[in-house]
């Protein structure tokens, strides 16, 4: 399965959905979808890396925790993030995101406040995995 992301409808907010050959890749794509709401990823230089780590054995809650950990890192460090990788060892998740401090020239979108449990789904699909939820903007 080719990795990628898409959006789905929600009345007030935005649904994000990532797809990939593995659950980790689907999560990374869901992160790409989330951050592309805030900034054009093509305009983000991968100058700085931030890491996130957490334990979670529920795949669906893991998606929410992954996205929210990234949002917290980005906001705490004033970063626009554009590239995402994730590895899993049992219930231990370790991820890295790359980006750069916000610049005035960044094409800005809309701030994502958090990932929600609404329309939260992580499931195997033909040839890979799909992971998505509604994010609050």
């Amino acid at each position: 399965m080719a990795a990628g992301y898409a959006y789905f409808e929600h009345g007030a907010d935005i649904g994000v959905r990532g797809e990939g050959a593995s659950v980790e890749e689907a999560f990374a794509q869901a992160a790409a979808a989330t951050f592309a709401i805030m900034v054009d990823p093509a305009a983000v230089q991968p100058q700085v890396a931030v890491t996130v780590e957490f334990d979670e054995d529920d795949f669906e809650l893991a998606l929410v925790r992954w996205l929210n950990a990234l949002l917290a890192q980005a906001r705490s460090h004033g970063l626009a993030l554009g590239r995402f990788e994730l590895r899993r060892d049992g219930s231990r998740w370790r991820g890295v995101a790359r980006g750069e401090p916000w610049r005035e020239s960044h094409p800005r979108g809309t701030e994502v406040k958090g990932a929600t449990l609404t329309a939260l789904a992580v499931r195997p699909v033909a040839g890979g995995w799909q992971a998505g939820c509604v994010v609050d903007v």
């Binding site: 906001r75 705490s76 800005r108 979108g109 809309t110 958090g114 449990l117 609050d136």
Partner: protein, 477 residues
């Protein structure tokens, strides 16, 4: 929405039929036939889910501006009794804890301001940090942030942002009791470091508005507003700290509910009994976030006041009122003739105390609390007044905005930010934003008819219309 799933009680009130509500308590929708028919089916499903939560008192209610949210619908109101196992829900408050509107009245008229609208908008855009990734100048230590969480807008006034007079016209006088900063994660505190005194993004804004029409002369006089006058509204919340508290407790309360044997119809309703350690932990953290939001709007009030006075040195810029619309507050309400202490969740709904309520400032006590329905940047907003009947109808709650009728994705397909801004300028509304995407998502056409929402709010007896405000300058986050 399929109206067959509802029972019409009167022109403005609809009850969710038992079979549609799938058991639980009573669920009501307020609004006229068109507004209710246009609501997403998810509103019915979500308010029905709320009605099934433990300890509910009275009906679970959706205000006339209700739309599909997460957990509770946006525009959802529900009260719970802690003595009957009542719960507190992170999904019933939302991520942007204590998001709300500070409305400022000036003594300027449109005629005076019109020649300087462009420089006023430019200066406000330069002064008010707005948009994703934009930080404020104020950087707080963790110790000082703990003080903000305890003292709210009182802290801001002590730091020189505005005056004590502002606080008279803020809910709880700018400081809610019961905040426990120790219940707020280090991540939440870190996330707030650069975000005090910032507007945020999405539907947040600072608008310079003109009072276009007065509907209730007595209340308008009490509120100090008249036709042609300039008012300024600031819509924002508790920023990163509140978002992180929502994030932290959504997952922990979802797990707690399962552990405590609360069957959640939707995991997003993440909740715990008010009296449980988990419920108390969230309550303390949420109150801390409310204080941060009140402080944030106080800082922005002071920045706005200074900016207006750069161009109009003798202008008076006074707080008309500050209302929060994402909260859970302990309030006393009379139920079946008996006063009871209840925890009232308002998610995308405004408190609307009626005349005579002891918590109102003396100036407004005879007419009721100012209620602000923030509309889109192209249409307008309403100031209303709380009513006596609102107490029985909705635990003194009313609508908070126009309410979206179109998703952000749909809006992006339909409008382009630059084109929209040009069209609004041609209509005399100046938009200042860093985000063309944000402007398109917030297109006036993506929102419900604010006139219909205000009319239904009055028709349902939740609040009565006092004045209509027309936007002139909008700084969008």
């Amino acid at each position: 929405m399929d109206l067959d799933r509802l029972e019409r009680i009167d022109d403005w009130t609809w009850r969710v039929r038992r079979e549609a509500a799938a058991g639980g308590g009573e669920a009501l929708l307020y609004g006229d036939r068109d507004l209710v028919a246009a609501m997403d089916d998810k509103v019915l499903e979500q308010i029905g889910n709320v009605a099934r939560l433990p300890g509910l008192v009275g009906p679970a209610m959706a205000m006339p501006d209700a739309h599909w949210g997460y957990g509770f619908p946006i525009g959802g109101v529900a009260a719970f009794d802690p003595d009957q196992g009542g719960i507190i829900s992170a999904g019933g408050v939302g991520f942007d804890i204590s998001c709300g509107i500070r409305c400022l009245r000036t003594d300027l008229t449109l005629a005076e301001v019109a020649p300087k609208l462009e420089p006023l908008g430019e200066r406000l855009f330069q002064t008010i940090p707005a948009g994703v990734g934009v930080e404020g100048d104020l950087k707080l230590s963790v110790d000082e942030l703990d003080t903000v969480m305890r003292d709210g807008a009182e802290w801001a006034v002590r730091r020189g942002f505005g005056s004590g007079e502002d606080l008279q016209y803020v809910e709880e006088h700018g400081r809610v009791a019961g905040a426990v900063p120790e219940n707020v994660s280090p991540t939440a505190k870190k996330r707030q470091r650069g975000e005090m005194g910032t507007l945020g993004s999405g539907n947040h804004y600072l608008e310079v508005q003109v009072v276009d029409r007065i509907d209730d002369a007595a209340a308008a006089e009490a509120y100090g507003i008249r036709e042609g006058q300039i008012v300024i509204s600031i819509h924002c919340g508790s920023r990163g700290l509140g978002h992180q508290i929502g994030t932290d407790y959504l997952v922990s309360l979802a797990k707690a509910a399962s552990r405590l044997g609360i069957a959640l119809p939707d995991r997003e309703l993440a909740c715990a009994p008010i009296r449980s350690p988990e419920g108390q932990a969230y309550l303390g953290a949420m109150n801390a976030a409310i204080n941060v939001a009140l402080a944030n709007r106080q800082i922005l009030t002071a920045l706005t006041r200074e900016t207006v006075r750069e161009l109009f040195p003798s202008a008076r810029v006074e707080t008309l009122f500050d209302v929060s619309h994402n909260t859970c507050k302990a309030e006393t309400h009379v139920v079946d003739g008996r006063p009871r202490r209840l925890y009232v969740h308002r998610k995308g709904a405004t408190r609307a105390f009626g005349p005579g309520h002891p918590d109102l400032p003396p100036r407004y006590r005879d007419v009721g609390q100012p209620v602000i329905i923030g509309g889109s940047m192209g249409t307008g907003s309403y100031i209303l007044a709380g009513t006596a009947q609102g107490e029985a109808r909705s635990f003194s709650s009313a609508s908070h905005g126009a309410g979206r009728q179109m998703s952000r994705n749909q809006a992006l397909k339909q409008w382009h930010g630059r084109q929209l801004i040009d069209e609004l300028r041609a209509r005399g509304i100046l938009i200042f934003t860093r985000s063309m995407r944000g402007a398109a998502e917030e297109a006036p056409g993506a929102y419900k008819d604010v006139d219909a929402v205000a009319r239904a709010t009055e028709g349902a007896g939740l609040a009565r219309r006092v004045a209509f405000l027309r936007p002139k300058v909008c700084v969008k986050g």
